[in-house]
């Protein structure tokens, strides 16, 4: 179909193949910090997927005789106040701590892209109504929406994830809207319009692939923020419930042990959160920078 418009073939296609070919060079060309961050992310995902193979012990095995055991050969990072192996809980905690943000980012990106695409493409009153609705959502910080949702639906992972997804939609929506408005000025869009393609086809088949990179970069950054906020809710006892291994809940569990001088139980999951969020931010912003530079031709 694309061949109908001369010279337009591949305007929105071919990019994935090129990205694959250039993939590795692209990563290494972005500096050592970026490479390190990508490595950390890969490691995190592998840890979460293969948690049962990696964890040295059962993360739920209570052994009160090992309560607050210092790091040693039996427990590499020591044991928590209930005598559970901290390293194993960290490894299993990667699962809950990454699954929640993944759901948030998936939902908010799909909805945000739809909203932004419609607003940017249609303009006019549709855009005005959507902008007003997003401004209302903006007035609620993500954490507040989540707290409100927990008040209504009860503690657990469901309410915070849904709430954070809603709270993130305007960020994605505004980005996509501005990208779409730039993109529709391009000549290839008018060429498709002259070629008789429907708005829907042009927007979804041709404009969307062109802005996908920037949107994905934003999604990676959002992943980090969602991870932070969901961990905070679990820390407050409103998200993931004990005894499930989760980084935020682990920090909360470990807070009393700090007063007894046992720092690892609370600090280890805290460090895990910071490292994960830094990695997501660096990768997301790095990709966005590269895309912006390519766009301006520098």
């Amino acid at each position: 179909m694309t061949a109908v418009v001369p010279g337009m073939a591949g305007a929105g296609k071919g990019a994935p193949a090129v990205a694959r070919r250039r993939g590795l060079r692209w990563v290494t060309a972005s500096g050592p910090g970026f490479v390190l961050a990508v490595g950390v992310l890969v490691l995190l995902v592998l840890t979460a997927v293969f948690a049962p193979l990696i964890a040295p012990a059962d993360p739920y095995l209570v052994d009160l005789s090992a309560s607050l055991a210092p790091p040693g050969p039996g427990h590499l990072l020591g044991a928590d106040d209930s005598g559970r192996d901290i390293l194993s809980r960290l490894v299993y905690g990667a699962r809950t701590s990454l699954l929640g943000p993944l759901a948030v980012v998936a939902i908010s990106t799909v909805v945000g892209v739809a909203v932004g695409l419609v607003a940017g493409w249609r303009g006019g009153w549709v855009d005005a109504v959507l902008a007003r609705a997003q401004e209302v959502v903006f007035a609620f910080p993500g954490l507040l929406v989540a707290v409100l949702a927990v008040a209504v639906l009860g503690p657990g992972q469901l309410a915070p994830v849904l709430a954070m997804a809603v709270a993130f939609v305007p960020y994605v929506g505004r980005l996509v809207r501005s990208l779409v408005m730039q993109e529709r000025q391009r000549t290839y869009v008018s060429a498709y319009q002259v070629g008789g393609f429907s708005s829907f086809t042009i927007a979804v088949r041709h404009v969307l692939p062109n802005i996908a990179g920037v949107v994905l970069a934003q999604a990676v950054v959002n992943f980090g923020y969602a991870l932070m906020d969901l961990a905070a809710l679990s820390y407050l006892g409103l998200g993931v419930q004990p005894p499930t291994a989760d980084w935020g809940a682990m920090v909360s569990d470990g807070q009393t042990a700090i007063l007894e001088g046992a720092l690892v139980q609370a600090l280890a999951p805290g460090v895990a959160i910071v490292v994960a969020v830094v990695a997501f931010t660096v990768v997301g912003e790095g990709v966005a920078d590269r895309l912006a530079r390519r766009e301006t031709g520098r």
Partner: protein
Amino acid sequence: MARFIIRRLGGLGVTLLLTSFLVFGAMHVAPGDPASFLLKGRSPTPEAVAAVRAQFHLDDPLFVQYGRWIGSALTGDFGRSVQFRQEVGGLLAARLPTTVALVAYAALIMVLGGLVLGFLSAMRPGPVDRVILLGTTVAVATPSFVAAIALISLFAVGLGWFPTFGGGEGVLGTLRHLTLPAIALGLSLVGLLARVTRASAVEELRRDHVETARLRGLPESIVLRRHVARNALVPVVTVTGTVVSGLIVATAIVETAFGLPGIGSMLVQSVVTRDFPVVQAICLLVVLAFVLANLLVDLLLPVLDPRTRQYAP
């Protein structure tokens, strides 16, 4: 200018109306009968349910209930707390000073730290810039509860400089008790603001008008103050305005971590006990703070940047 302010006020009024309705309506989409929440699990007799429904006017249409609630909220009457069995207004008034002091303290840390680090980073490319960039990247990624735990471990338990828990007595005692919480609350925003300031100042330093000012022989301090800082502050003010409400919500985390008796820790307790009148009142306050902060930014920007006056709709 007056028309611009009126338009913005109107827009913010609509936002406030919609958000307050969402806050109020949230209770009514909760699964189950609001009356059974208010009775909290006690096996309710039909008479008790009827009494509660009458007391909270639950049989009226939603809009009528909302009108009554927002009307009395405007006079400071938020109803009675189910958990504490007291007027919500009085409960909030007792806890608000702690939270306001904490937010103000954290905002001060955020603005001072963010501006100093940001401008320093922009002005000193090389090692200084790289160290600050690394530090702020980590700071932005540090959730306030992790910062709280780290600060407690180091300064309260390890060195014993600050208390681990609770609010203090008197001005000095309060300051001492609020220092670690304020740092924990402000840390990630110091990072954010420093990065925004740096990006904005770096861009401004590259502009032709800065070069022109230097070539005209103006002292560097005047160039930096009048030509770089003033222009660079525009995005900084915008960002500060948008994060203030987030700061208030984040007090929930920090106050819980440090056991401070403010409205943030009260919000968490009230959510756990499903004390809806308190949750609604605090949510309304946060949204109000957001709207007011944004209004303040809108009024401040034309002062900083006269161009926004000219092109204001």
